[in-house]
Assembly symmetry: C2
Homo-oligomer: 268 residues x 2
């Protein structure tokens, strides 16, 4: 049976709260905090390792069908509303949280030879999460996070990603050009997405071979070194104002076009 | 020369602040508050009617090239930092604001016979703004906001939309089925976007005629009445988890596909 915690000074609560707040603490511990009935249930069914589960009594009843399997399997604690408020990063908090282990870094040899989205120094966790969610929905093989992207395990990125990070293979690289060099050797070709009407329109690219689509930072785009390391510069042909596509929307269109026109290699 | 305002109780400041905070006050007055050097400059160059312009002395220097034309043409006020904080809806506020008139509602006869995105009861201002921005970038003819969508002139929607609402024809309708009936008579066909794998894949739809693509609320999708009023149910074919596309990303893919495969009618 779950224990009760009513103190905001409880050590486990303090650790969980810090995991919600601090990217460096998440990195240091290899843990993260998931919030919300749907996301916690998603972590559980996706076989993420859950260290502790916290919920209010109210939430345990309201989301019973989601949460009962977790309460049975994981060290669990009932918490009071003030404790839930301390843990929460959202406004209308549901009172449901779990402390989880981050996935082990995948070895470079495990890189699936299927279409991949590479993001370089994407800063907005909402954009990062949305792109991961779209990558999973459209059936890409993996996502590569390069440069200094925001933390994929931040509460906001997790929420926007709807748990995609629990299931989709995600790789990390400090330097995108180095990663591209290695991946070219594994049979990938690569495209640099640029807002430049002289680049090749994505409608004219052959996506029947496994492709890495590299997209850059929201304000500055790809670094020149990363764009130069790609096999091809590509662009989304637009009739309107060229600067007017946000990072998540342009990533969605780029991934869709890879999968639509080259679905076999992408989905196989 | 611009006057100085240092009091947060100044009537013009109070009105401007209320325009940033209250959707009903915006509706009642037909005005809105734009924030940020880029957005204010965008409003000015897009010929939005600006009633008052407010900026800090610091901002007037920092964004001089953007702001000098506005300062010359519009009733302007220098404000202190505390006043800027009162007006601001963002964290790192730039100290630049203008009170603008909302565009007059366009008459139904002015509806361009080109591809249109219809959104029914979309609730998140970030999604609404991002979809408008994408619609402008891809060159759609218009956007139709139906049911009870969030306010297109809210600070968050304006920010996500990057000023698209200043330029793109935006129409409003309480009931999407009624609007569709009228627009079918004007030569449009219509598609209901649904997350249903038995619907027609969008890759198999002929978009060579002007089309209204109807998308629904983030949680519940289109109302049954709206979906039934459309000529065709369509879906984005997905390999991954079907529920896993957010509203702005799926709208981006739907609009892209309309324009890609039926660009003549869309862009003409």
């Amino acid at each position: 049976m779950a224990e009760w915690i009513s103190s905001r000074k409880n050590e486990q609560v303090k650790t969980a709260a810090k995991l919600g707040q601090s990217a460096s603490f998440r990195r240091q511990t290899g843990l993260f905090l998931a919030e919300g009935a749907r996301l916690c249930a998603d972590a559980f069914t996706s076989r993420v390792r859950i260290r502790q589960f916290f919920c209010t009594e109210h939430a345990a009843k309201k989301y019973e069908s989601y949460l009962t399997p977790i309460l049975r399997a994981v060290p669990s604690f009932f918490i009071t509303e003030p404790v839930a408020e301390l843990l929460s990063q959202t406004e209308g908090n549901q009172g449901v949280f779990c402390v989880c282990e981050q996935r082990k870094e995948l070895s470079w040899e495990a890189f699936p030879l299927r279409h991949c989205l590479a993001m370089e120094t994407v800063q907005d966790p909402g954009n990062l999460g949305a792109a991961l969610r779209t990558a999973e929905a459209l059936g890409l093989g993996s996502v590569l996070l390069a440069g200094s992207c925001c933390d994929v395990y931040s509460p906001k990125a997790l929420r926007a990603g709807m748990g995609a990070v629990f299931r989709l293979p995600v790789f990390f690289s400090r330097k995108l050009p180095d990663a591209l060099d290695a991946l070219h050797g594994q049979g990938f070709f690569s495209c640099a997405a640029v807002p430049d009407s002289s680049a090749r329109p994505i409608t004219e690219v052959d996506f029947s071979h496994p492709c890495i689509m590299a997209v850059g930072n929201e304000g500055n785009g790809l670094t020149e070194a990363a764009a130069a390391a790609c096999n091809l510069r590509v662009t989304i042909p637009m009739l309107g104002r060229a600067e007017s596509l946000n990072a998540a929307s342009s990533a969605a269109i780029l991934m869709w076009e890879m999968m639509r026109s080259g679905g076999i290699s992408g989905g196989g």
